[in-house]
């Protein structure tokens, strides 16, 4: 080809088209690099002193971003070289997080739920935080409630640290108790006391019930009934499901019979779609998480809290979430600084105060961030649950295992099967699913 040959218009267009097409293909095939994955700014040359760009750390979670804003502001003052970007994922949180993990695009720090933290740990998707903790002289591990601190540990590796939590407690409507002339219950009550009180207050013909009813589609809710009756859902290393035990069978049948009787609580048909009967002042008692406190703070009736009634043991259900650092996070040091701050005394308090929940640190709970002013409520009941409660279990193959158990519990609560007939078989199937993982 002659050196002085000109490029024709057609050739130019052809070249441009090929370049554009190639660029599109390359862009589509290129690995996704998040802004967060950018590490510290390159080393500056000695001659020119340019301002160092702050490192960006993306923090993903499912609850409202507002709960985090004060913590971000304070952290930014302390660590001006790290910029925190909040990424709230309100819907389909596990689905999106697992998909991000598959794509290798997890945010730098993620707040994951109980089964997720162990799943990620087992699959080496998140790093062991213990070396960071060991290198942090002011990290006071003894300040944490053991229930939460010891949960995300597999073979000595600590995969996450929890911040706020909710525990299930019993709520009772003092006004309905007074109207029925029933004295308030004591902390030492058991299931039979609970049912006896509910019978005294219930007037189904007037749509007033002693209890709001069972949460039929909520498997974890039923776990606490088994625990309170001395049973367990799984063995310690999650290789066997224990829902076929006499304790589990007795516990679930006890409450299913009451549900079917529909005297102290509405039948599933009566309760469907009516919202929370306790909040509406139509049920005298409910046993559910401490997140209800916010909704009840503005209620027109007087209410109080108690630990859930026991059968053989004082147990309840606890929920929390764990802050983890994925293995794909580029700047793990900066990520740890943020994680350490939000689980630390200051950062954790800012979060739980805004969220009105207890924290996982004893020092944070001394300030009672969940308590509402002007209400005559036994607030000390809330943190006590963190001592005797059990966290939502996190078995491997959790989705399939919980589908098997959930179907069985639903059949029992709907009166379609007897616990003794269905639970042993369901437990065996769940065990098989556990061992497939």
């Amino acid at each position: 080809m002659a050196a002085d040959s000109k490029i024709s218009r057609r050739d130019f267009l052809r070249l441009a088209g090929m370049t554009a097409a190639s660029a599109t293909v390359l862009a589509a095939c290129a690995p996704v690099i998040q802004p967060s994955a950018v590490g510290p700014a390159p080393q500056e040359s000695p001659e020119v002193s340019l301002p160092k760009a702050p490192v960006e750390i993306v923090y993903a979670f499912h609850d409202p971003a507002d709960f985090r804003k004060e913590a971000v502001e304070l952290f930014s003052e302390r660590f001006p070289d790290i910029r925190i970007t909040l990424q709230q994922i309100p819907d389909e949180f596990p689905t999106k997080i697992f998909t991000m993990a598959a794509a290798g695009t997890l945010p730098d720090v993620v707040r994951v739920w109980e089964p997720m933290v162990l799943d990620f740990g087992r699959a080496n998707q998140v790093i062991d935080l213990q070396p960071f903790i060991d290198a942090q002289p002011d990290f006071n591990a003894e300040d944490f409630l053991e229930n939460f601190y010891d949960f995300p540990v597999i073979a000595g590796k600590r995969y996450g640290i929890a911040d706020g939590w909710n525990g299930h407690v019993a709520y009772y409507n003092k006004d309905l108790f007074d109207q029925a002339g029933v004295s308030y219950p004591s902390e030492e009550w058991d299931w039979d006391d609970y049912v006896a009180i509910a019978r005294q207050i219930s007037r189904p013909e007037e749509r007033i019930w002693g209890d709001i009813g069972l949460y039929i589609g909520w498997l974890h809710w039923s776990h606490k009934l088994v625990w309170q009756n001395g049973g367990r859902i799984y063995n310690d290393d999650y290789t066997e499901c224990l829902m076929g035990s006499p304790e589990a069978i007795e516990a679930l049948q006890y409450w299913a019979d009451l549900q079917q009787e529909a005297v102290i609580m509405p039948s599933p048909a009566q309760a469907e779609g009516l919202g929370n009967l306790f909040q509406a002042g139509r049920a005298a008692m409910q046993r559910v998480g401490t997140w209800e406190i916010g909704a009840l703070a503005e209620s027109e009736f007087a209410w109080d809290l108690l630990p859930e009634p026991k059968r053989k043991e004082r147990r309840t259900l606890l929920h929390t979430a764990f802050n983890v650092i994925p293995t794909t996070t580029r700047d793990k040091e900066s990520a740890w600084k943020w994680l350490n701050f939000i689980v630390g005394p200051e950062g954790q308090y800012l979060y739980v105060k805004k969220n009105a929940t207890p924290g996982t640190r004893r020092s944070v709970n001394e300030k009672m961030p969940w308590a509402r002013e002007g209400l005559d409520v036994r607030w000390e009941v809330v943190p006590q649950a963190g001592e005797y409660g059990i966290l939502v279990p996190a078995p491997p193959n959790v989705g399939e295992v919980e589908k098997i158990l959930g179907d069985a519990v639903q059949a029992i609560f709907l009166g379609r099967a007897k616990a003794a007939d269905i639970l042993p078989e369901a437990a065996a199937k769940a065990t098989e699913a556990l061992r497939q993982a």
Partner: protein
């Protein structure tokens, strides 16, 4: 010879340019449609939980599906019942509405709009509305039943009634089919009815021997699309029942979703997707084969 070579070169250049101009679409198709299709087929031979490396299991997913998974059969049963019952019901209801809206009465454009409107409501919004319509104590359906002395069931929490409730709800969205049938009705030449009248045909005979045959291609079209949509039924069950109670509304597509994103069994979910594709293909081919016995195409008369 020189001229022929020039022609070939020019054709080649034009061909390349043509492909370059449509390359954005081709790239999009390869990356976002063909690629995932091939990937899902390959994936169906793997066990993959999203957070662990995939493991080749050959045909295990398919073997487990057919031999050891009762929920696969349950989801297939629920979906088949829906397709067999809901699709013909939707067609009959749409045809009934189309005939009504084909009458010459005042305000007919208003009525057509009115009956078409529900099909424009998003499936999730519709599901929320029907949660209340089916409410056992406060719902409209049970209120109407009470007027005739019948105590209605707890529709969505009853294993017997949840699926019929979803089938009933599906009749609310026949607006699209109704419009197509209405267009088909208006396309039937008037002289055919006049000829039938001269032969002494009454209204029923006209419907049987003129309207139905002339409308059969439209009915066939709606039936094919309706059956495919029936096999892919998902959103309402996902929002309203999540497959419950006791898997009574565990539709195939919902079970596929649960396997992928709740059980994290992506390989198994991919295998389910391919079996669904085969089922839909088989049913559609069967419909095409059977069509020759009942679908009447006007131009075929002249071709014969």
């Amino acid at each position: 010879m020189e001229r022929k070579r020039f022609y070939t070169k020019r054709r080649l250049r034009q061909t390349i340019e043509g492909y370059l101009f449509i390359s954005p679409w081709i790239i999009g198709f390869v990356l976002f449609t063909a690629g995932p299709i091939v990937a899902s087929f390959v994936l169906s031979f793997f066990s993959w939980s999203l957070i662990r490396p995939p493991r080749l299991v050959w045909f295990d997913n398919y073997v487990v599906m057919f031999t050891r998974d009762p929920l696969f059969w349950q989801s297939l049963r629920v979906t088949m019942v829906y397709v067999v019952v809901a699709v013909p019901l939707q067609l009959l209801f749409a045809l009934f509405l189309a005939i009504l809206l084909n009458q010459k009465v005042r305000l007919i454009p208003f009525f057509r709009t009115l009956f078409y409107l529900p099909s424009q409501v998003s499936s999730v919004a519709m599901a929320v509305i029907f949660l209340w319509i089916y409410h056992p104590e406060l719902g409209l359906v049970n209120d109407l039943l009470r007027l005739i002395g019948v105590q209605g069931p707890a529709w969505l929490i009853s294993p017997q009634w949840a699926l019929p409730a979803l089938i009933g709800m599906s009749l609310w969205t026949v607006g699209g089919s109704m419009i197509i049938l209405l267009a088909g009705l208006q396309d039937i030449p008037q002289h055919l009815y006049e000829a039938a009248a001269l032969d002494g045909a009454g209204e029923l005979a006209k419907f049987r021997y003129v309207t139905l045959p002339m409308l059969s291609p439209v009915i066939f079209f709606i039936l094919v699309l309706g059956i495919i949509a029936g096999f892919q039924y998902f959103a309402q069950a996902y929002v309203m029942t999540r497959g419950g109670p006791l898997n009574a509304t565990l539709f195939y597509a919902l079970y596929l979703y649960l396997n992928a994103f709740n059980f994290l069994k992506m390989g198994y979910a991919a295998a389910l997707a391919w079996i669904l594709l085969l089922i839909i293909m088989a049913v559609t081919i069967l419909q095409l084969r059977l069509a020759r016995y009942w679908v009447y195409y006007e131009f075929e008369e002249t071709r014969r």
